[in-house]
Amino acid sequence: MHPATEKLVNELNELPVAVAACDYAQRGYHYEVDVAADQVRALAECMLKHDMYLVFVGGLDVKPVPRVVYQFASYTHPGRFVVRAAVDENNMVPTISDIFQGASWHERETRDFFGIVFADHPYLKPLILAEEDVDLKPLLKTEEALKDISEVSWPAASDVSSKPEAKNKAEQG
Amino acid sequence: MPPELLRMIITAVLVVAFVFLNAMILGYMERKISAHIQRRPGLMEVGPHGVLQLIVDGLKLIGKQLVVPEGSSPFLFRLAPLLSFAPCVLPFVVIPFSRKLQAVSMDVGLIYILAMTSINVVAVLVAGWASNNKYSLFGTFRSVAQAVSYEIPMLLSLLAVIMMTSSFSLEGIIEAQKYYWFILIQPVAFIIYFVSGLAETNRAPFDLPEAESELTAGFHTEYSGMGFSFFFLAEYANMFTVCSIATILFLGGWKGIPLPFYDYSGIIWFLLKVYGLLFVMIWARWTYPRVRFDQLMTFCWKYLIPFSMANLLITAIMVKII
């Protein structure tokens, strides 16, 4: 682990967030972070302080509440963080567009596609969709397609042995 | 009919005919040269090697509607192309194409030409303002500022030649180059004049009034059909005028080694020199990027004007000494 990443992880651990190291070869990122909506800004500030840049902000429509997915990486050392923030009871997440200015467009796009509202965003107008399509929210899942968060996450570390790709490999062989 | 009037009518017809012919030749030259510089064949469809393309284009432009945009000033909008075209024709009256071929001999021929070419900027101003289009207005701003500031080095460089010959008459200046061309002793003045000429005619790299990538088409964005073609004609007529002044003042006008067809050797030499300079103009256009507006001004005030003034001063001293 790169020392800079280590420092960041240590600092993140002080926040009330759940940081889990992942297998890069399997997932393509190094850390998975679960965070509550009210901790998003603190996390983003921490990322900014440690020379991370914002890769993207996106939405993920799951039960029980939709998630906002942030990805951070660094220009100088390997260390890719996927942050999943659950929206609060008002379908809202605080904006980080004043911390990472690049988040502004990503947040507007997420508002377009998922209807997730970013509190305090200075200009939350539709970006990609037309203004009359403000309630279209095309990426929201239908009731039957909607899955629980546990159904779209990796199985817990304990049952790594029963990973589906092991099965895939067996099929190939 | 009094012979003087007849002469005037013939002159007018010939001059206007020449302006159209010149625009066609230059249009063809420009498109062919640009094509070959870019390693493509260019016009190939109408006539052998596309020589008739410009006639077809002209007919097309005549046939097209002049769309007057909403919110524009219709009278001024229609006036501007004419205002641009008419003054461009007039300088041709005094240009000595050869010893014998000159419509009107004027003692102040040079001043007359310079006065006429300066009117063009008014046409551009009217066109841009009347179009009610922000891009056109931009083009106009730029064009006026550019034309006004480049007039200074242009005149200063010409003044050096005038000082040497003590004459404003074009024939007088040509006669003074009996033994050598003035480009040999006034190279700086020639370069300054030519660069200012490029700027005056809005040719690349100084084509800011119609900068395509910034202003779509600048002052003539809104023009179509004949309105546009008048601007087009005026541009080529202006180019010809600028190059013929350069030929007369620096390259010895129609003087040259006598050719077998004696009677016509003067006009052949003159046209050869003028079209040679026009080739350089076209060649430069298809080579360089466009300068930025403030750089255009900086170049004028920082380089052209000091150099032309120094050149004038040295010329004055040399004239006094010799």
Partner: protein, 166 residues
């Protein structure tokens, strides 16, 4: 690795003039050289480029000279593999033959994204890519190809032409 920085050098008043004039003349030299070089473009409708045999146009049925038709067994794999649903395959069972006989193979080329899934999934290799690249038309219906018809036309025309010659 840093890119070259000598372009940013402070040159002074006359240095800049010298540098600029030189660079402009070099530019003119490049374009003048190009002026006398042969052209590299093709006068398109008059002459056409040689297209590589690997070009992937829309799909065509492969002609089987032994049967005089195509090898399609109407399994429908191509239609299922197509991401844009632009292939329709129909066949009917004929007496005395095993398997189905192809009666309709239509391609809606307006929807096709030229991915090649159909060709790759075909178990009998009965599909191939066409070499047509300058396709144009006035209506959408012109791009609804009947591939059986096209196959027939492709392999009857040479015969007819030869017959006409005799």
């Amino acid at each position: 690795m840093n890119v070259k920085t000598d372009l940013r050098a402070e040159r002074g008043y006359f240095g800049e003039l010298w540098f600029g004039a030189k660079s402009l003349l070099i530019g003119l030299k490049v374009t003048l050289k190009a002026l006398f070089k042969p052209i590299v473009t093709v006068q398109y409708p008059r002459e056409e480029c040689d297209i590589t045999p690997n070009y992937r146009g829309h799909v065509e049925l492969v002609f089987n000279p032994e049967t005089g038709g195509c090898d399609c067994i109407v399994c429908g794999m191509c239609a299922r593999a197509c991401p844009s649903d632009c292939i329709t395959v129909k066949g009917e069972k004929k007496e005395g033959e095993k398997g189905k006989t192809l009666t309709l193979f239509s391609l809606d080329f307006t929807k096709c994204s030229l991915c090649g899934s159909c060709v790759e999934t075909c178990p009998k290799s009965a599909l191939t890519y066409s070499q047509d690249y300058n396709i144009a038309g006035f209506t959408r219906e012109e791009f609804h190809y009947d591939l059986i018809e096209r196959l027939k036309r492709r392999h009857q025309q040479p015969l007819a032409a030869a017959a006409g010659g005799n």
